[in-house]
């Protein structure tokens, strides 16, 4: 039922003025999205009510906070730094754990119509499997394995750096479900040889990129700011890095859908990400400056761009610069 409504419903809600012939719908693997904006993992994605607000704000799909088997409090404050041209965070995978979150997710599946992608974290195959099973039981529309969080030992990047282990995780997850399986990678894994192995193991799509390992000092305090010292860089300054990663993945694997994430702050940024090859864009730290209005702003702006430049469907934009 929702599917039929998707564009119309969307335009009605937004009062999209110009032209109903513009098709903003996109898809990543088996997921159909009313528009290409996706809430990135770790951003407001830890409760049903927050996820619902983002749906109402106009997103095309939602990614949850990365969920681990046990609850994690994360690091003590400070966990966040505003650098002006970007942000640094070391939240430390703070999350309610798989059992608690599965209840939230069940509730969310009842109240929310757009696809929900659950981000799962783990420090072993068993942990990934445990979390994945809970999330699938609760109706998750797709899974995204976090191979790239740069600041939690034994998780994220530490797992993603072990290519064999990652291949096994992908194979086992694919063996328990036919729901789409994505990998959230960092620029460190954006090597063709590595991604080829992931894809051979059954991966259905790639989210790129996670934050980049970074550190901020306050010179007046003669001290690092984050309690964890090292954190992950996000925001405008990583956009050019993310564009290069998405560009190279698309060039090598044009059939693998890509969720382009990193520094998207405006419709123009989103269009750039789609031009280099993303089928959808993840939105994270833009919320700091623009708050939840960012989802509508970006979708509208993409529509406006398409109208002005004679594109009828998002599909024509995806990877456009590779075809010039």
């Amino acid at each position: 039922m929702y599917k039929e409504l998707k564009n119309l419903d969307y335009f009605c809600k937004m009062g999209f003025p110009e032209d109903l012939s513009i098709d903003l719908a996109t898809s990543i693997s088996k997921l159909s999205l009313r528009n290409p904006t996706i809430l990135a993992s770790g951003i407001l994605g830890s409760s049903c009510s927050l996820l619902k607000r983002i749906e109402d704000a106009g997103a095309g799909a939602l990614t949850t906070k990365t969920i681990t088997k046990n609850p994690r409090e994360g690091y003590v404050n400070p966990v966040f730094v505003d650098l002006g041209y970007g942000y640094l965070n070391a939240i430390g995978l703070r999350n309610p754990g798989a059992d608690n979150f599965s209840k939230e997710l069940s509730k969310a599946k009842k109240n929310i119509q757009i696809p929900i992608i659950t981000s799962i974290g783990g420090s072993s195959i068993e942990e990934f499997m445990y979390v994945a099973e809970r999330m699938l039981e609760s109706g998750s529309d797709a899974l995204e394995i976090n191979l790239s969080c740069p600041h939690v030992e034994g998780y994220g990047l530490d797992i993603g750096s072990d290519i064999k282990l990652t291949q096994q995780i992908i194979k086992q997850l694919k063996s328990i479900s036919s729901k789409p399986l994505f990998a959230k990678i960092s620029l460190h894994q954006s090597r063709i040889d590595i991604l080829e192995k992931y894809i051979d193991a059954g991966l259905d799509g790639i989210s790129a990129i996670n934050t980049v390992k970074a550190l901020a000092i306050n010179i007046k305090a003669l001290s690092p700011i984050l309690s964890n010292i090292v954190g992950g860089l996000s925001g405008p300054c990583i956009k050019p890095i993310a564009l290069a990663v998405v560009y190279e993945i698309y060039r090598e694997f044009p059939d693998i859908p890509i969720i382009g994430v990193g520094g998207i702050q405006s419709p123009e940024d989103a269009v750039e990400m789609i031009l280099v090859g993303a089928s959808a864009v993840g939105i994270g730290s833009a919320i700091v400056r623009k708050d939840l209005e960012i989802f509508r702003e970006i979708t509208r702006g993409i529509g406006k761009f398409m109208l002005e430049n004679g594109f009828k469907s998002i599909r024509e934009l995806i990877g456009y610069i590779h075809r010039r």
């Binding site: 770790g42 409760s47 009510s49 409090e73 404050n77 966990v79 966040f80 309610p96 007046k220 003669l222």
Partner: protein
Amino acid sequence: MNNRSSMNKPLNDEAGSIQLPRQTQSRYILGEVYSIRQLTPSIKEYTIKLEEEINPNPGQFAMLWIPNIGEIPLSFADYSTGTVKFIICRVGFVTTYIHRNILVGSRVFLRGPLGNGFTLCSLKNCLLIGGGYGLAPLYYLGRILAMNNCRLKTLLGFKNSSDVFYVSEFSEISDTYISTEDGEEGFKGTVVDMVRKILAEETFDIVYVCGREQMLMKVVKECSAKGMKTEASLERIIKCGVGLCGSCSVEPLGLRVCRDGPVFDGRLLLKLEDPLKNNREEICIKN
């Protein structure tokens, strides 16, 4: 941080309302502790000189960073030309460290103002209701409202007489009443009892509340029943402070204390199924 969520519209959009400038900056500003007052056995007041102006609105908060120790959210208890006051209650690791080790001359770091404060008005009849360190934002609010020729009444609730503080400060700007549960000072009972008594006789254009969530809820219910507008300041665990991480969500509303709040229209609170017993349960972790 500057946009009020549509669910949290100002109550008061008339020409009479005051608009202070808002800031979105989240970098640290250096401050030096200028003076410290012990207000009660567990509460101290810190006056801090900042290296630049920040101009917070009453009800907004700051993140106070003590390098190597931690960072905590605090309401502005007062502010004028680069000098800020905080009222800090000793409850755990960071606040205990501050009470013991932060002395006059110590350097601290502050990011803010963050969040949305109280709706400000002029020439109105306002009631302030607070308990414990909830007095902090109310005092700054009261001072600004008084400057704008509002008529103020203040009701402050404390457990025992040893917990009483800031009565003379409030008395200077408002008609102030206190309650203690043992009755050693002021009205005997809780602040909620006192509120009921006052509301039986008087009405107000707006009621501002800050304190424990269960107290807030009762006050909001009483006032709403009588059709009065209320605004209340809430607490949750603040991590990012800028509306990104979801840690401070007020469930089941999905409102962020750090960005949609900390001050909310009381009507929203009526939807809170289960007010927190103390303000510190970790929603994000517990769910």
